[in-house]
């Protein structure tokens, strides 16, 4: 058995045979031609054919993935007809008396390099689009149809990377999963795969194509990003079980979708989802979560090679808010440090990072970073129902400083005439024992609390949650933790604030009844646990 790892961009499990996707490597030769006009006519015919193919792909994509996602192929058609691109090709043919294939390949390299050099990751990714259209023209010139990958068995497609047009052209009835050596979560492949509801793992690395052969049996876990080639019996049956559970979950989903989160005696609770990137929104909606209880904004910082700009952040927040269409979206401000490190922050190495310079402590000492994020958040607030949540609070004075900065940012935006929502809820994480103990003082200052049980457990029990040696001492149901949660809930309600739980404990259904009895108003869990918790809530009887 060989185990490979990549980044799962779409969950679910697949077991089946591997089909290695090879494209006819457009190894373009440079040949001298005498009849330039004939060569240009050949190019024109190939372009016409390429556009026709794209039109067909566009029509297919329109049906399968919707207009917004199909549009890329319409733009590809325009790119093929782009004047500069064509001038470059023609001029290479004319001045060098070379074949059209070569002229297209050189032009593609030049244009791709131009995009790759731009200071914008989105535009950099467009160099793949230039190569995609150019390869299409070249294959039309060679009169080689891309081979139809027909086989009756459903297969796991392994490839170095898949161009958008290749993803769509595959007969998805015959695809079990996508596994690619390269690719980014920004690529159309990742986006299309999610829309097509096919498990996908990207970024496995070059070893992928050295480790798999056509016809190999493999198990793919889109949740963990693992690929087991030629799995042993144990792994195979484990994955089969996971797949069965998946199907069971799907069945549950069908039954519970659209139903209320209400106990047998009529108590209602909100069940929201925790997510860490814009791409998880599909899962939030698919699992019928009532909102987003914790959106970890760190991904913007982790995925970037420098501080994300206000515009980049604004675009991401806006997209989340708009996608959730008026449902609550609680975005937590930057929480790095401790186990989440970002190079360009240049944080010093610490003896005790969990007790160190992290989260709000960074924001309150490097306020320019904090203000940029708050400006982006408030600007995005006009596009939905936003809540802003601050992590790692331990004192009233910290919260006073935060609220003052929020007010300052708000006033600046209003003075600039930028439209912002006046209903933005502000809340804090209760994840330090200190915050829980003074929750009576903090509650009047905010709209909501959200209990982060992972850190609250680690700080209350003095147990490093990443130290496997002390696992037996970590009792997540410890009375001290439950008392702190209950105390926070009482103080929240006494001061007109609401309280949720967004740590892992929120999904622990053996505690659902306990939490509801404390008066917890919201449970925020991974999208895949929403229906499981809904099920637990609907079985509770608090009377």
């Amino acid at each position: 058995m060989t185990t490979l790892r990549g980044k799962g961009v779409y969950g679910t499990i697949a077991l089946g045979r591997i089909s290695v996707f090879t494209r006819k490597e457009a190894s373009v030769k440079r040949t001298h031609i005498d009849d330039i006009e004939a060569e240009k006519a050949r190019l024109a015919a190939a372009k016409e054919k390429a556009v026709k193919q794209l039109q067909e792909i566009y029509n297919k994509a329109l049906k399968e993935v919707g207009e917004a996602n199909a549009q890329i192929f319409e733009i590809h058609m325009m790119m093929i007809e782009d004047e500069d691109y064509n001038d470059s090709i023609s001029s290479i043919i004319e001045t060098q008396s070379v074949n059209a294939e070569y002229a297209v390949a050189v032009t593609a390299d030049n244009f791709a390099a131009m995009f790759a050099a731009m200071d914008d990751t989105y535009m950099q990714a467009r160099s793949a689009d230039v190569k995609d259209i150019s390869n299409r023209i070249i294959s039309c010139l060679s009169e080689e149809e891309s081979e139809s990958r027909s086989s009756d068995e459903k297969v796991i497609i392994c490839a170095d990377d898949l161009a958008p047009s290749e993803t769509v052209q595959l007969d998805k009835e015959k695809v079990l999963a996508f596994v690619t050596a390269f690719g980014s979560s920004n690529s159309h492949t990742a986006i299309l795969a999610r829309n097509m509801n096919i498990p996908a793992i990207i970024g496995v690395g070059e070893e992928l194509l050295n480790s798999v052969r056509n016809g190999d049996f493999a198990a793919v876990d889109g949740y963990t990003g693992e690929i087991f080639v030629d799995p042993d019996e144990e792994t195979k049956s484990r994955l089969e079980r996971k797949r069965t559970e998946d199907e069971e979950k799907k069945r549950l989903l069908q039954e519970l979708k659209g139903k209320e989160n209400i106990t047998l005696d009529g108590t209602k609770v909100n069940i929201y989802a925790n997510i860490g990137s814009v791409e998880n929104i599909g899962a939030v909606l698919a699992n019928d979560a009532g909102g987003i209880g914790l959106f970890r904004s760190e991904f913007l910082y982790l995925e970037s090679s420098g501080y994300p700009t206000e515009e980049q952040q604004f675009a991401a927040y806006k997209r989340v808010l708009e996608s959730m269409a008026g449902k609550k979206v609680i975005i937590r401000t930057l929480d790095i440090g401790a186990d989440k490190q970002v190079d360009y922050f240049n944080l010093a190495k610490e003896e005790n990072p969990a007790l160190g310079y992290r989260a709000i402590r960074i924001c309150l000492t490097r306020t320019e970073i904090f203000k940029t994020q708050l400006r982006a958040l408030y600007r995005a607030s006009a596009y939905g129902n936003l809540g802003i949540m601050f992590p790692m609070i331990t004192s009233v004075s910290e919260l006073e400083k935060i609220l003052a900065i929020c007010e300052e940012v708000r006033n600046e935006l209003i003075a600039d005439g930028i439209q912002i929502s006046d209903k933005v809820e502000l809340g804090i994480m209760i994840e330090t024992p200190a915050a829980a103990i003074i929750s009576d003082r903090l509650a009047p200052m905010v709209d909501f609390f959200s209990v982060g049980t992972n850190d609250l457990t680690q700080y209350t029990l003095a147990c490093d949650r990443q130290n496997a040696a002390i696992e037996q001492f970590v009792d997540t149901h410890h009375e001290a933790i439950l008392r702190l949660i209950e105390m926070s809930a009482k103080n929240a309600h006494a001061n007109g604030a609401w309280i949720g739980i967004c740590g892992e404990l929120a999904a622990d259904t053996s505690l659902t009844e306990t939490f509801l009895r404390m008066g917890i108003d919201e449970l925020s869990v991974s999208p895949s646990f929403v229906l499981k918790v809904r099920d637990a809530v609907r079985r509770c009887d608090l009377s």
Binding site: M78, M79, E83, D84, F111, V130, F314
Partner: protein, 88 residues
């Protein structure tokens, strides 16, 4: 020749989709030459790759210059596209 200065209002600037929309509109008016002046460059509205490569961000001022054909009507159409943020 007619011209007007507009500001890019959509959050993500002139990325692929707006570039496609502009180029499409430009091609619907073959009699008019439409140039966008921004960031010190002259960009042909029908050249989708030029628009993308210009990397025009939100807040950038773009001077639209239309020459030939039904100049004012064509200019108005382009101005409206920018003002609507390309429907975003």
């Amino acid at each position: 020749m007619v011209s007007k200065v507009v500001t890019v209002v959509n959050a993500e600037g002139m990325h692929m989709r707006p570039a496609g929309i502009i180029a499409k509109l430009a091609k619907e008016h073959p009699d008019s030459e439409v140039i966008m002046k921004a960031n010190g460059k002259d960009i042909k509205a029908k050249a989708v790759m030029q628009i993308m490569a210009a990397g025009i961000k939100k807040g950038t001022e773009v001077e639209l210059v239309v020459t030939g054909g039904d100049e004012q009507a064509v200019l108005d159409e382009f101005v409206k596209l920018f003002e609507d943020g390309f429907g975003e």
